[in-house]
């Protein structure tokens, strides 16, 4: 495999907490625009891995390469990644608009541009009229969509979704799963096209960063194999700190690598 094609390379990552090995020699590569889901039971180290990629935790050993650049010494706020937290972590003292615009403000974009981009994001998640709402007034599903809009707004190079449906009840999960896929796909396909219709300035800014029609690389963490199968290009199955198998959905179904994988997928 030519490493040049890989957007993200996770190399030999180990993580320890005291004497316990939380992660042991994790190696994962993701190609540009792929949606990889990390699937595993709770406590297997999925979230820790995400936190290492995000830069919240320092690995014990190993490195994270993004576009062939070592990220180890780059602080979180300079990585230009996006992350949607399990409990959404929306800022309670800011309204919907202010939550979504936060990342854009940090990039010091002009106010006009921020307003345009936020409006665009609100349209994307079907919450056009919600800009001035207080976070506390939102339902679980609405919060999830605001969190997604906030994650997407600054056009991150990589999106991480930590159990994006975990905080919702089952009925809502099923409905929102398809919504989420739809929105993600739309951003992944129409990002630049939509932008062209807006100002020229934004257009040039966006196309500088993202080549036309290239979707954003995405990592989706879940413990639900149905969810993983529904959304991903490839799936990485983890069991207690180790990668058990990385493969396409079809291969996973047809030839699970070992008993752990087969059991977890319910095969």
């Amino acid at each position: 495999m030519n490493s040049y094609n890989n957007e993200l390379d996770i190399k030999n990552i180990c993580f320890k907490q005291g004497a316990d090995n939380i992660l042991l020699n994790i190696n994962i590569s993701i190609k540009k625009g792929q949606l990889l889901s990390i699937l595993g039971p709770s406590g297997c180290g999925k979230t820790t891995l995400l936190r290492i990629i995000a830069g919240f935790e320092k690995p014990y050993s190993g490195e994270i390469l993004f576009r062939e650049k070592n990220m180890s010494n780059l602080p979180t706020h300079k990585r230009n990644f996006g992350m949607m937290f399990q409990d959404f972590a929306l800022f309670p003292h800011k309204n919907v608009f202010q939550n979504i615009s936060f990342g854009l403000e940090m990039k010091k974009l002009p106010k006009k541009e921020i307003a345009l981009r936020v409006q665009e994001m609100l349209e994307l998640v079907n919450l056009e009229q919600y800009g001035k709402r207080d976070i506390r007034e939102l339902s679980g599903g609405e919060r999830q969509r605001v969190a997604l809009a906030r994650t997407l707004a600054p056009s991150p190079d990589l999106i991480m979704l930590d159990e994006p449906l975990g905080a919702l009840d089952r009925q809502l999960r099923e409905r929102l799963l398809s919504d989420l896929c739809f929105i993600l796909n739309r951003t992944r396909e129409k990002r630049t096209k939509r932008k062209i219709a807006k100002t020229e300035e934004i257009k040039s800014r966006i196309s500088e960063k993202n080549e036309v029609n290239k979707p954003i690389t995405t990592i989706w963490v879940t413990h639900d194999h149905n969810e993983a199968f529904a959304v991903s290009d490839i799936v990485c199955v983890m069991g207690s700190g180790k990668v058990e198998q990385i493969d396409s959905i079809e291969n996973l179904r047809n030839s699970p690598a070992n008993k752990v994988v087969a059991d977890f997928l319910g095969l």
Partner: protein
């Protein structure tokens, strides 16, 4: 339970705290109110009914007289000014420490937090006494240091000598009362800010900061755009509390300020007790009540905002310190807290056992002798036994009134839950919603005495409950009643959460197994709330032991308490009296500290606020 029981028991239970409040809180306050509106001598029901009194209404003339007096105006100005400066100083000192306490987990943290909170529960008189001795102690230590060989070698003879006779020592000798007052207020209220903000700080979810940083905010931006705005209500709420406490500061200003400094509270005491000018004292009390009420209201509103910002899931995100800088931060703040909170207490203890250049227990021994042979002498041992007796009565009354109030509040919140069921019945619905309103009002009503200063309470009682059928002026119960007013809200606060934590199913399962309501209470409820009751009892105990303002106002010589004795000893000349004051203060400090440490250890919940 049949229908009659259902309403009868709450009625009886609710009757007790209501009568208590009505008689000993609202009635005296109304007395103050009337005094400030009408001339002092006669206000009887007849004269009120016949509007005779209106003609004698002197409120406005009194009011004008008072607020035209430049002395009173300067006192009001001073009260605001010193409270604001004390609040700002407290915030400046406490917030960095509360960052450290709210962010890191380390060994001995609980001990440090207890030490930091101790000053808050210390009697004002003890605080004032220990701050009185600090300047002379610092001077002694400096002299000792300057005369030692080490300093000689380090600084050289020349510099040392110039330090010895120059203004440096004069500066230390010069006891600036304002500096001491500020210092004492910071010492006192440090823990209010520390505990409220650090517990809120640690409950701010880590996710929030991480979300900001992944959206591109650096540490600086995260702090100013996320952390600080979220902390703001907690900071304001604690600042508001500190302001209220400093605004109604009595003992500290009375003792440290001397005759030249006076807060409204001190002035009420002087006007009423020294000058017998009741109308002026009444109007000042009214001003004080209205102002603290207003501040309390603002505080409760802020409290609600805090609840709104508190994350729904209670996850405390404390981390262990890793880097050297983090460890240094912890070391510095621990050192600071030990110095700020421990030094004055240690100074007091030291002074109480230091006599003519050596350690001795002479002051403690002297407490029990009447060496001056005075006939007005009330032995300190009598004061100690009085204090203990008052504390004991206070505990019993506060427990009764407090737990009845808690039961009533809980009963009313049950009605709230049943509201849904009652919806369908027309009239019942109205009754139920009335009950809901009542239930919501109950808690703040029972907290009211907390926002009224003890001096005001004492003053109100003296001017209203001074004639038959209820003449408390010479009664043994006057002081315990005032102490109960201050202490029972603490009992409510301790007992209510415990009562609410008992699930209905627990009681139902007991009664289905054949337990009568009384036995349910005895075997199920009482054991569960016993711990809360003991916390309330200790609170009542420490409040009663240390209370100074009301006792100074109301206590007759034969009912002198420990704080009053300390105050009187401080006012008399001679090293013996002074030393005895130190000894008595030390005893009081130790007893309250032990009580408080006991509370901290049996406190069940992770609750760190006030």
């Amino acid at each position: 339970m049949d229908k009659r029981d259902k309403y009868l028991i709450p009625l009886i239970v609710g009757f007790i705290p209501f009568i208590f409040l009505l008689l000993f809180y609202f009635y005296p306050l109304a007395g103050i109110f009337l005094r400030s509106f009408f001339d002092q001598n006669d206000f009887t029901f007849q004269s009120i009914l016949s509007f005779k009194l209106l003609k004698q209404a002197v409120f406005f003339t009194n009011f004008l007289k008072i607020f035209q007096s430049s002395r009173i105006l300067s006192i009001i100005w001073f009260t605001f000014w010193q409270a604001s400066v004390s609040t700002i100083l407290t915030l400046i000192v406490a917030l960095p420490c509360s960052y450290v306490m709210g962010t890191f987990e380390f060994k001995g943290k609980k001990l440090i937090m207890t030490l930091a909170t101790l000053p808050f529960v210390l009697p004002t008189i003890v605080v004032a006494t220990s701050f009185q001795i600090i300047p002379s102690l610092i001077q002694d230590i400096t002299l000792l240091l300057l005369n030692s060989q080490v300093v000689n070698l380090l600084l050289g003879e020349h510099i040392k000598n110039s330090l010895l006779d120059n203004q440096f020592l004069n500066f230390l000798k010069n006891e600036n009362p304002m500096v001491m007052i500020f210092f004492a207020h910071v010492f006192y209220n440090f823990s209010v800010v520390l505990r409220i903000t650090s517990s809120f700080w640690s409950s701010l979810s880590k996710d929030m900061k991480e979300a900001a940083s992944i959206l591109g905010a650096n540490n600086f931006q995260t702090f100013f755009k996320i952390t600080l705005p979220l902390l703001k209500p907690a900071i304001f709420a604690s600042a508001m509390l500190v302001f209220i406490f400093c605004f109604s500061s009595f003992g500290v200003v009375l003792i440290l300020g001397g005759p030249s400094f006076s807060t409204i509270e001190v002035e009420i005491y002087r006007q009423a007790a020294h000058l017998f000018n009741l109308p002026v004292a009444s109007i000042l009390s009214l001003f004080q009540i209205l102002f603290t009420f207003g501040m309390m209201l603002l505080y409760t509103r802020l409290q609600k905002k805090i609840d709104r910002f508190t994350p729904e899931s209670e996850k405390f995100s404390l981390k262990k310190p890793y880097s050297a800088i983090e460890k240094l931060l912890i070391f510095l703040s621990v050192l600071f807290i030990i110095l700020l909170c421990g030094f004055p207490m240690a100074a007091l203890l030291l002074k109480s056992i230091y006599y003519k250049g050596s350690l001795s227990l002479i002051f403690y021994r002297e407490l029990f002798l009447n060496s001056s042979g005075s006939i007005f002498y009330v032995s300190p041992i009598v004061a100690i036994s009085n204090s203990l007796m008052f504390a004991f009565i206070t505990i019993i009354m506060a427990l009764i009134v407090g737990s009845c109030a808690a039961i009533l509040i809980k009963q009313c919140s049950y009605t709230n839950e049943n509201l849904e069921i009652n919806r369908n019945f027309g009239i019942k619905k109205n009754i139920a919603s009335l009950q809901t309103l009542f239930g919501k009002l109950l808690e703040p009503i029972f907290m009211l005495p907390l926002s009224t200063s003890a001096v005001t309470l004492g003053f109100g009682m003296i001017i209203t409950l001074d004639k038959p059928p209820l003449n408390l002026r010479t009664s043994l119960f006057l002081i315990p009643i005032i102490h109960t007013l201050v202490a029972f809200p603490f009992v409510v606060r301790a007992v209510l959460p415990a009562l609410k934590s008992i699930p209905l199913s627990l009681k139902e399962s007991a009664s289905i197994m054949g337990a009568s309501p009384f036995r349910v209470w005895l075997h199920i409820e009482l054991p569960i709330i016993a711990r809360a009751l003991s916390i309330g009892a200790i609170f009542a105990f420490t409040v009663s032991l240390g209370e100074f303002g009301a006792a100074l106002f109301a206590a007759r010589p034969e009912f002198t308490t420990m704080p009053i004795t300390i105050y009187k000893l401080l006012g008399q000349p001679g090293i013996m009296n002074y030393g005895q004051a130190m000894a008595m203060s030390s005893i009081l400090m130790l007893v309250t500290s032990i009580g408080f440490i006991f509370i901290e250890n049996i406190r069940q919940f992770g609750h760190e606020g006030f």
